[in-house]
């Protein structure tokens, strides 16, 4: 077998393979047997027709055609083994240049070359949002609000600050209802807390002093950054009919620790709330920094990604989308029919996202390789112990057993993912250990799990 390899762009390898005559003849013999099984020839039992009769009956061309797929598959497999090539996707047949001698060319996608450049020079400052007293106040107020009790009014009165009200509310923008409804259908009911800052200023002011049964049209100018796009910067009229007023009774501050099942005084609860807010702010900053680092990493990395790799991921993404809809009883076929898309069009629509994710994964994998991060058995054991602690005491033993046997590789990936995040953040902050110091020294250190770390943003 003669093999000529040539590198093509986008990590494709062009392999021109010329088959030996013996190999071709063996392939043709097998193809003749297959043809004689498939197509009966008068005078012969199926599968018993000699090759020369097959050649005379169907022609040598048909025989070569029948043999070619099998021949090419086997020859390609042998060629990949012989040349020590690891394909990352299915090969595509480029051409069959000659049938005798049998020469064909295939394009094989191989692992892309990824150059992450000086990834250790990327710096992203960790910008942690400061937690001031006002933020803690708002959080404490939210905690208190969670335990508010609604009480019917003893004596009728107009709406006051802090009331919980039930209204029929129509929102009119540009002379039309924001939410259309059938003729004769009543306006939808809403419940509102009449608290300054929670409602649009004009609506809040308009609601104060209203009586049950009263109807009012309140006009307000909406902010330019309103979450509802149709309302941004528009003058909106709210047609309100007040149906019910309830008084919101907030617990005393001193009762809050008990209501929160917190053992300690209000100040201690406040300290815990502050610590939680600070932890959230830190996590948020780390997530942003990690995303920014990955964006910069991907931007400075040069890729040579084969199309087939991106396409495979796009297919997976489409399948994932299909599975999400399957939960609601909608099949992927129904979804595509509704969208008026063919499967190929739907895959094409995912190609951009798939390319982005592929690049992130490749860049991160390369960083992981260069950093030489590994997971030691002791680390897996410690993670298993930590996860088991989340379960009831009587379940811990069986959970530990399950995690040790079936989910060891998942746990390993989890630990590796966490170590990778920590390392990327350290690199971004300029505090990462030099590579010699960080090289794994534990004798039981394991190679990184084959799964990709899920560090995509």
């Amino acid at each position: 077998m003669k093999i000529t390899a040539e590198k093509l762009p986008r990590s494709l390898l062009s392999l021109q393979i010329e088959l030996d005559k013996d190999r071709l003849e063996r392939g043709l013999d097998q193809a003749a047997r297959r043809l004689s099984q498939k197509y009966p020839v008068p005078g012969f039992r199926p599968g018993k027709v000699p090759r020369f009769i097959i050649e005379r009956t169907f022609g040598r061309g048909a025989l070569i055609e029948e043999a070619s797929e099998d021949l090419m598959n086997k020859a390609l497999r042998d060629a990949l083994k012989q040349e020590n090539i690891q394909p990352v996707g299915p090969a595509t047949l480029a051409e069959i240049s000659s049938s005798e001698p049998f020469i064909f060319t295939v394009h094989v996608p191989v692992a892309p070359t990824v150059d992450v450049g000086d990834y250790r020079a990327i710096r992203v400052p960790l910008d942690i949002r400061p937690i001031d007293e006002e933020t803690v106040d708002v959080a404490m107020e939210t905690l208190r609000e969670r335990h508010a009790v609604l009480k019917e009014l003893d004596n009728p009165r107009p709406v006051q600050e802090g009331d919980h009200i039930r209204v029929r509310l129509d929102t009119i923008v540009d002379g039309a209802l924001l939410v259309e409804r059938e003729d004769g259908e009543a306006a939808p009911e809403h419940t509102l807390d009449v608290v300054a800052g929670r409602l649009v200023k004009e609506l809040y002011a308009g609601l104060l002093g209203m009586h049950i049964g009263e109807t009012k049209a309140i006009t307000a100018l909406m902010a330019d950054d309103h979450p509802e796009e149709r309302l941004r910067g528009k003058e909106v009229t709210f047609k309100v009919e007040l149906l019910q007023i309830q008084e919101r009774l907030l617990p005393d501050w001193d009762e809050l620790p008990v209501l929160e099942n917190f053992e300690g005084a209000l100040e201690a609860l406040r300290a815990r709330t502050r610590a939680e807010l600070e932890e959230t702010a830190r996590q948020e900053a780390e997530r942003k920094a990690l995303n920014a680092y990955i964006d910069q990493l991907v931007a400075q990395t040069s890729f040579d990604v084969p199309e087939v790799m991106i396409r495979e991921l796009a297919e997976d993404l489409l399948e994932e989308e299909g599975q999400q809809f399957a939960r609601y009883g909608i099949t992927l076929e129904q979804l595509l029919e509704y969208r008026g898309q063919s499967r190929d069009q739907a895959i094409d629509a995912w190609m951009g996202e798939a390319e982005r994710q592929t690049k992130i994964n490749l860049a991160i994998r390369e960083v992981l390789r260069r950093e030489g991060l590994t997971v030691a058995d002791a680390e897996i054991e410690s993670e298993i112990g930590r996860i088991a602690l989340d379960y009831a005491e009587e379940q811990r033993e069986s959970v530990t057993e399950l995690l040790r046997s079936n989910m060891r590789s998942t746990i390993s990936t989890l630990v590796l993912d966490r170590k990778l995040r920590e390392r990327l953040l350290a690199i971004a902050a300029g505090t990462a250990p030099t590579l010699d110091e960080s090289a794994p020294s534990a004798p039981e250190a394991r190679a990184p799990a084959p799964e990709e770390p899920a560090a995509s943003p």
Binding site: G43, F44, K48, P50, F52, I53, E55
Partner: protein, 94 residues
């Protein structure tokens, strides 16, 4: 007298006859009235080979039924021709 092409009606290519070809024997359907010498002459003339032996047999027609009606396919004559070593007939394609 029939011509060689009238005597040799068609070659018989079957699993069994393919095996016979390894012994340099070729089978033909021949004219029912043809004699062995006539068959030998016809094969030698048409295929330009030397025939060393000729065996013939009359094959009786098979009983066939179509619904209630029964009948027979035609009787025919088979000839097995042995060629001289080194000769072969291209029409069989071996």
């Amino acid at each position: 007298m029939p011509t060689p092409h009238e005597i040799i009606i068609r070659p018989l290519v079957t699993e069994k006859n393919t095996l016979l070809m390894e012994k340099n024997k070729y089978c033909f359907e021949v004219l029912r009235t043809a004699s062995k010498p006539e068959i030998k002459h016809a094969v030698e003339t048409i295929f330009d080979v030397t025939v060393t032996r000729v065996h013939t047999m009359n094959v009786r027609g098979k009983l066939k039924r179509r619904g209630r009606a029964t009948g027979y396919t035609r009787d025919w004559k088979k000839a097995i021709v042995t060629l001289a070593p080194g000769d072969q007939i291209e029409i069989f394609g071996s």
